[in-house]
């Protein structure tokens, strides 16, 4: 399937504008910054998963030569009342957010920040950590979502009450609970649905916490000037949101904060949250010098990210012919130490690809003594859809149906109702399912012993939100594009290409730059797969405004009415014939050269906030072989089909899909947070956390289905997130098919496979 419209720039594969700096080591990332007189900051962290902080004594640290300041929670102004933006999820109380920067009274997970130090040298800052004495009263931790929900569980927050939004809620405002919220999706009559079913499957699934695993640790450098102006240099997914948050928690006007975005070395949702920036700011205020802070990898694992560990029950009922009549799920997600798990992503996703008349999904957001969870690529959806899709594959077996036929029979339709309400609009669910079914991979025969195949679907809603952007036309006909959304993996070319397409010029003639918070209007974060969509809308509007003004200039030169001038998609501006009957026209470059004489530079800006977001569906096929002696799983072949709307730069669309597959395969097979009974993460290094390497994966074939989003001038939907969703169930089902043993807990490590194959060994 290809786009219905012919484009000049969209769909081509130009070299990315920021590429040369990145292959030569010149690109400046957050940790690469160096300022005159800079100090180095480090964080003192709790060794306990749950403890009362009795006393912090920094006197010995402060006596160490080279140590310039130590801060604790008491150095923050009182947190603002109410709630503030917290990543992609619902807003959370400011108090909790500030407590996560530096613990107040209680340490709620191992690695929780309790103090920070600034010193003249990184080694001295490290030495100083051991000299900060913290007295704790250690409390028993609660580490599992089911335990945390039980009556007997240790309570993390004495003042936390369950916010139950379901119709039959029995809220108990006097009783502290680890359950922060209970929400529900309801459609039809679930009991009636199951009564109509011929076949019912009921299963339970467990997934571990997973880390986003970006290679660049968190960093933040701050200078609080004598004039009260705070400048922060960092790598984040959201410098504008960080600016506003800094102003809120430090209680200074927004205009007194400038955040300068440096290149970001991966985020996947995990860099939507501040950790070091407020500490660096306070340390700078105290010392009068710039302070740079970076995390170690161990700190990244123990104190940032991850996504929720989950416990999910699924029940699906179908007629003998495969018509699904009822879908029910119970989803309990670990929020980590403070409320705000992405359970909503799992709830929305689990039945999204299907048109099911009766649905009931209950979701629980539960605090545990583990790191506060952060958004991670399609937040909450991989675990939720793992459960739904794995159960669906089993249901297909029970019905003796092809798993893709079962899905096609129940596929969500254009303009149908979404499970949680609202309308789908134009979607590619069915087209993706058809493309999976028709793919040569799906039709091929499996070869060899202990081999199996799995399929699964994925859904992500994508996102819009606010984007400000500006552009100016230079006298040689090149164009500068000013962006305020962070480029995390190729949005500079994707947005430059959309502006180039609109103007009828080349991608290379547009120079995109991501600027600081002083230099363009507010932009929401780079998350939700929103940037190519929302930034593309902005680029289109900028382009159309430039076209209009170019037409006016040409009319001025030709002394005609602008209505007689046309701007072609080829970038040629044509006017009425001259007195001799000859066609009058300018190329973009010719007219650009005339701008100075006809009124000056064309310089335009726009702010868009579009809600016409196009959801994304994906379908994956995975073949594995299992070594029954070692339990090692090899991915033999992998094909990822996805409705991408329109692929602006197909190479980077493919790259997003391949990267998402790799992360999803990691979730299925090897990645895991191991906690000891004391709440200490036992595998807080890359080697032991075990993300996929080049040797663990084959080439990943991508199939780009293009069902353009009618709510975008170029049909963009957003591509980055949905590809992480299907691999979990696709890999799990392939393993089940290969060795005939069921696994309902991820990851399916070699140890789990061997244990399952030889339970008595």
């Amino acid at each position: 399937m290809v786009a219905t419209k012919e484009y000049r720039v969209i769909g081509t594969r130009p070299i990315r504008h920021d590429g040369t700096d990145k292959v030569t080591g010149r690109a400046q990332y957050g940790a690469d910054i160096r300022l005159t007189g800079m100090l180095y900051g480090r964080v003192k962290r709790s060794p306990h998963a749950h403890a009362i902080i009795k006393k912090i004594d920094a006197s010995k640290a402060l006596a160490l030569p080279g140590v310039k300041a130590v801060i604790t929670h008491a150095d923050f102004p009182p947190p603002p009342a109410g709630v503030g933006v917290s990543g992609e999820g619902p807003p959370q109380p400011w108090r909790f957010q500030v407590e996560n920067y530096l613990a107040n009274k209680k340490a709620l997970y191992r690695g929780h920040a309790v103090a920070a130090v600034a010193a003249t040298d990184p080694h001295i800052a490290e030495d100083a950590l051991a000299l900060i004495d913290v007295e704790y009263e250690v409390l028993p931790p609660v580490l599992d979502v089911r335990e945390a929900m039980s009556e007997a569980a240790p309570i993390l927050h004495e003042d936390l009450r369950t916010r139950d939004t379901t119709p039959l809620a029995q809220n108990n405002p006097d009783k502290p609970s680890n359950i922060a919220s209970h929400t529900q999706i309801k459609r039809g009559d679930i009991e009636k649905g199951f009564a109509e079913a011929d076949v019912v499957i009921e299963r339970e699934y467990v997934t571990t916490m997973y880390h986003q695993g970006y290679i660049e640790p968190h960093n933040g450098t701050a200078y609080w000037g004598k004039d009260g102006h705070l400048t922060v240099w960092n790598s984040s997914q959201s410098h504008f949101v960080f600016r506003n948050q800094l102003a809120s928690v430090l209680q200074i006007p927004v205009q007194k904060v400038t955040v300068v975005p440096l290149e970001i070395g991966g985020g996947f949702g995990g860099k939507l949250y501040m950790y070091l920036e407020p500490l660096a700011a306070l340390l700078s205020k105290k010392t009068g010098k710039p302070v740079k802070m970076t995390m170690t990898r161990e700190e990244v694992f123990e104190a940032t990210g991850p996504t929720s560990g989950t416990y999910i029950r699924v029940k699906i009922g179908a007629k003998r012919d495969g018509t699904i009549v009822a879908g029910q799920a119970y989803m309990a997600y670990e929020a980590g130490a403070y409320p705000g798990s992405p359970v909503g992503g799992g709830m929305n996703g689990i039945f999204a690809p299907y048109d099911i008349p009766n649905i009931l999904v209950d979701g629980y957001d539960v605090v545990v003594n583990k790191p506060k969870t952060a958004a991670y690529r399609a937040p909450g959806t991989p675990a939720g859809m793992f459960a739904g899709e794995a159960a669906l594959n089993e249901l297909a077996k029970m019905l003796d149906m092809d798993p893709m036929d079962l899905r096609l029979k129940n596929a969500a339709k254009d303009n149908g109702e979404r499970p949680w309400g609202g309308n789908w609009g134009v979607i590619g669910a069915r087209q993706v399912m058809e493309a999976v079914k028709e793919h040569p991979h799906y039709k091929s025969e499996l070869q060899g012993e202990n081999v199996g195949r799995g399929v699964a679907m994925g859904y992500w809603g994508n996102a819009g939100g606010e984007t400000s952007s500006s552009a100016s036309v230079n006298s040689d006909g090149t164009v500068n594009l000013v962006l305020g959304s962070i480029d995390i993996g190729g949005t500079r070319p994707a947005l430059a290409m959309q502006l180039a397409e609109t103007l009828g010029i080349t991608a290379e003639d547009v120079w995109p730059r991501v600027v600081d918070t002083d230099s363009v209007g507010f932009n929401l974060f780079t998350a939700g797969s929103r940037t190519a969509f929302a930034g593309g809308w902005a680029a289109y509007e900028l382009g159309m405004e430039i076209r209009k003004r170019m037409v006016e200039r040409a009319a001025k030169i030709w002394e005609c009415d602008p209505s007689e001038v046309t701007y072609g998609d080829d970038g040629v501006i044509r006017g009425p014939n001259d007195a001799e009957g000859k066609e009058r026209k300018f190329t973009f470059k010719e007219l650009a050269a005339q701008l100075g004489r006809t009124g000056g530079t064309i310089d335009v800006s726009t702010n868009v906030n579009k809600t016409s977001v196009g959801p994304a569906f994906a379908g994956h096929i995975c073949d594995v072989s299992v070594d029954k002696e070692t339990g090692k799983v090899s991915i033999l072949r992998y094909t990822a089909v996805q409705d991408v709307g329109t692929a602006i730069h197909p190479s980077y669309v493919e790259g997003q899909i391949q990267g998402g597959v790799a992360q999803g395969v990691g979730m299925a097979l090897t990645e895991e947070y191991h906690f000891g009974p004391d709440g200490r993460m036992q595998n807080s290094s890359f080697l032991d956390y075990r993300m996929p390497t080049a040797l663990d994966l084959p080439m990943i074939e991508t199939v780009l289905v293009e069902v353009p989003n009618p709510g975008h001038p170029y049909g963009v939907r957003g591509v980055g997130e949905v590809p992480i969703v299907p691999p979990l169930a696709a890999v799990q089902t392939a393993i089940v098919e290969a060795i005939g043993v069921h696994f309902n807990e991820l990851p399916i490590t070699p140890a789990r496979i061997v244990e399952a194959l030889y339970p008595d060994a």
Binding site: R13, I15, R16, G19, T20, K22, V23, T24, G25, R26, A27, Y29, A31, D32, R34, P65, G66, D121, P122, H123, I124, Q212, G213, Y214, I215, E216, P217, E263, I264, G265, G266, G267, F268, T294, T296, R297, G489, G490, S651, Y652, E654, G655, Q656, Q658, G659, G660, V661, A662, Q663, S685, F686, L687, M691, P692, T693, A694, L695, D696, L697, M699
Partner: protein, 158 residues
């Protein structure tokens, strides 16, 4: 106070002296003392390969080498891979094959791949994957990186 030592080494073809802390790794020295920030710190324990450099002809993780050990050594970092103002074929291939997204692991991958192609100008896909398994990339799923190395290998063999 920390102990400072003077170290003389050849870095990207140029002999230089620099001051380092006795506790600095080569990566610390490159980044904080010399100002060559192309080598990245991803883990500081040799797991991720983002800090890879070529030390006296050997591929090493510079976070696992002490700065004090490189006295008299010859070191090539990502900043020294492009010669005579021209991108190295690997750098060109990484751009053309879109083998990077966020780019933080890219210096390590290019340095490691150069060490591979210096040894084995025509590696198989498996050999590339095996050699690069000490470099972690979280964005690409490795597909386009492996293709870029294959492409560079073709370009270099003519």
């Amino acid at each position: 106070m920390s102990d400072r030592i003077v170290i003389t080494a050849t870095i990207n073809g140029e002999e230089m002296q620099f001051l380092a802390d006795s506790r600095d790794s080569l990566l610390d020295a490159l980044r904080e003392r010399i100002g060559l920030t192309g080598a990245k710190e991803g883990c500081n324990n040799g797991n991720c390969g983002a800090c890879a450099v070529i030390l006296d002809g050997r591929l090493v993780n510079s976070c696992c080498v002490m700065a004090a050990e490189v006295e008299g050594a010859d070191i090539t970092t990502i900043e020294g891979i492009a010669a005579d103002g021209q991108l190295h074929p690997l750098q060109q291939a990484f751009l053309e094959e879109a083998a990077l997204q966020c780019g933080i692991c890219t210096p390590g991958f290019i340095v490691s791949s150069k060490a591979l192609l210096d040894k084995n100008p025509n590696p198989t896909e498996h050999e590339i994957r095996f050699w690069l398994s000490g470099n972690l990339c979280r964005c690409t799923g490795y597909d386009k990186i492996v293709r870029a190395v294959q492409r560079a290998s073709e370009m270099m063999r003519g």
